[in-house]
Symmetry: none
Subunit: 126 residues, 4 copies
């Protein structure tokens, strides 16, 4: 459970794919705060990639506060993630920008505004 897989055909770099999937698992509840992640070496061999690539992903997650890295200890999902309840002032602006970008691409790809809204309800709704 909470498996991480790589797609060689993806335009995203491997370390980014790892970051995205860990975040997704955190959000879905598959990786609750405090859960230990696989060791960098373990995940590297599992995915058939280099240890440093996994390290890059873990460092990025650490910098974002999603993961807690400590010397000698297994990396864990940050225990204080659950406490965050403030919407954060700039966060909304940031998300809005991302949504506007998605909207432009979707409409140019031929989707109707209605179809987009409907898809959003599907993805964003519980």
């Amino acid at each position: 459970m909470a498996v991480i897989t790589l797609d060689d055909a993806s335009p995203d770099p491997k370390y980014q794919q790892i970051v995205d999937q860990v975040k997704a698992h955190v959000v879905s509840g598959a990786l609750p705060p405090g859960t230990p992640l696989p060791s960098v070496r373990q995940l590297a061999t599992d995915l058939g990639i280099n240890v440093n690539t996994v390290l890059a992903a873990y460092h990025a997650l650490d910098a974002e506060g999603v993961v807690l890295l400590r010397h000698g200890a297994r990396a864990v999902i940050h225990p204080r993630l659950a406490q965050r309840a403030e919407p954060a002032p700039h966060a909304v602006a940031q998300v809005r920008g991302a949504l506007e970008r998605v909207r432009a691409d979707a409409l140019l790809l031929g989707m109707t505004p209605d179809a987009l809204l409907s898809l959003a309800r599907q993805v964003f709704g519980e």
Copy 2:
């Protein structure tokens, strides 16, 4: 009208900012199909950037089918853009992926699913 501006403080590369803004203007109707874009040299001097940077943006837009580039002729918004009505099979999957990524980041930033849906309705709604 349909002005393009660059933000030096943006994490996005310049060519990306140009691409995003042209798309936005197309979607908003400010740049209807067939409209000529400013010449590469003109836009480059207007923005105070290198010609190659503008060229990169135009090429990207051409590759996505948003713009039509022809040797010796001014670049124009693709005339057949309006005819696209089929959402394209992989397009929906692509947009869904983008939305899922936005969702993960939004929730990790502390937004509630409700707030996100509400924001999406705001941005995606006509």
Copy 3:
């Protein structure tokens, strides 16, 4: 009294947290020179961590001269701690370096020099 606690959400390693807290208790007077520390095994079980982790902390404190370790005997706060009166030549330079580092981070975090000085007076003042 002079309790030591661990914070799982802290980015600092456990042994470091122990070292910091013992130092703080010594400085505050809660652990005067000569005071015996809890045994390695006792503290390890109290905190629910490995004996070696506590040992590492005690060794670090011993190396810094804060604690006196003797084979077979309980570790104690170094009895001669009180006698130190000379600031030591390199000590000032070391502390100055630490303060400069704190200053850079504080200012980058948005604090004003005045706010920083005021906070320092609060923390450093008796």
Copy 4:
């Protein structure tokens, strides 16, 4: 000016030394917002170290928002650094923790509270 140097005898890793010095230069005004940093390759050869070590430092500065990294463009001190005026809620607590740590070490090194406060006024004062 705004030179960066490495100290092989320092306990801090090289990439950390680069990070600290860039921050110090930003705070001192030697590197105002928008200033381009030396390219990773240039700085690497200047310091006689590997390119990836410099990259690690630049990535860390980018993650902290001190530096703006963009593909193909020279790294620059973040242009929006000047705009930050909010003290940030957790920032104060973070700085306070750092000061408390410095205080404990200073007193254990034999400095008096008065000497520490005086040094702080020297370092923190304009």
